[in-house]
Symmetry: C2
């Protein structure tokens, strides 16, 4: 750092301060100039690392997605000695909890149509979206433990149903204008019918 002309690691600093600002002040109030100032560089410095604001947001989004994925894996790991059903519920709870702990991340991750996640490279299909992979793995383990046999099609339908339920509950829990009468945790207990 210090007072060098070259920052040293501006790219990562921009991402980190960007995440902090989004979480503290909301996405709306994140500006390139503000992030630059937070990193102690001039207002145009970010353009050496990102084509435009969109590209910085995309990088921030990828970074948040990584943290989200780690968060899910950690929660599942904590109950790794118990049943797959417990693990799925644990994952669902963490899924929602993550966004309640970081209220601005939900909108940021899922609802910037102009931003596409680039975890590695290219578009993300369900098949290589890490949270989905985790759920898939757990669900297959669940089917094994229960001795349930399903066709591939039935499996996918069930998977999408579970995933979308969790996603939907997170969505509802994050909506400030819609309140459920029961705490959201209650809706996750019977995630698998």
């Amino acid at each position: 750092m210090e007072d060098k002309y070259h920052h040293g690691n501006l790219r990562q600093a921009l991402i980190d301060h960007g995440i902090r600002i989004i979480n503290e002040e909301g996405e709306q109030s994140l500006s390139l100039r503000k992030v630059a100032a937070a990193c102690g560089v001039s207002h145009s410095a970010p353009y050496a690392h990102f084509k435009d604001k969109e590209e910085l947001l995309s990088a921030i989004k990828a970074s948040v997605t990584e943290r989200f994925t780690e968060y899910l894996y950690r929660s599942v790991d904590e109950v790794k000695d118990e049943s797959a059903e417990k693990a799925i519920v644990a994952m669902g709870r963490s899924y929602v909890k993550f966004f309640l702990e970081h209220p601005d991340y939900y909108q940021f991750l899922f609802y910037n149509q102009k931003i596409t996640v680039h975890l590695t490279a290219g578009e993300i299909h369900e098949e290589d979206y890490p949270p989905y992979l985790l759920l898939k793995e757990l669900f297959f383990r669940y089917l094994g433990e229960k001795g349930i046999a399903l066709s591939d099609e039935e499996k996918e339908i069930e998977l999408i149903k579970i995933w979308s339920t969790v996603q939907g509950i997170a969505s509802i829990a994050c909506m400030e204008n819609v309140k459920t009468t029961k705490p959201w945790e209650d809706y996750l207990d019977k995630l698998i019918h």
Copy 2:
């Protein structure tokens, strides 16, 4: 209209052009000045009707929510002679279809944390959120038709599960970066287990 100093119905014109712009160019590119220009009025004119940009967006949001609700009711009405289960599926399909037809509305309706819907006045609780009321009505009819008896708690849990599943599927269907292998309609067929 004409060349009068007083527009006549500027408030509604701002809302209508606002909706059009959001749907044509996306929410990001909606500015107060642009809407004002579209209405043929000076850049500060909107301030006679809305405190700030947020308040205009809030009015637009309420207007879109109304259209959304109407859209759902219409689709349910089209199958009013069939079973409640069919109606629920029809509603689910329309729920998703509405946002696929108006790609910018999804983010706009659900993910502007700073905007709260004011359909009549005050916050919206699940209890008086019209789409939820519709689903509730259909679900109770479904239970009657099937002769299923549930406790109030069980009823609510099932309702939230159905609602969040539909919401989640809409969410997934609207995500450009996540693609399912099957068309989203397939995941709605077995909405009720």
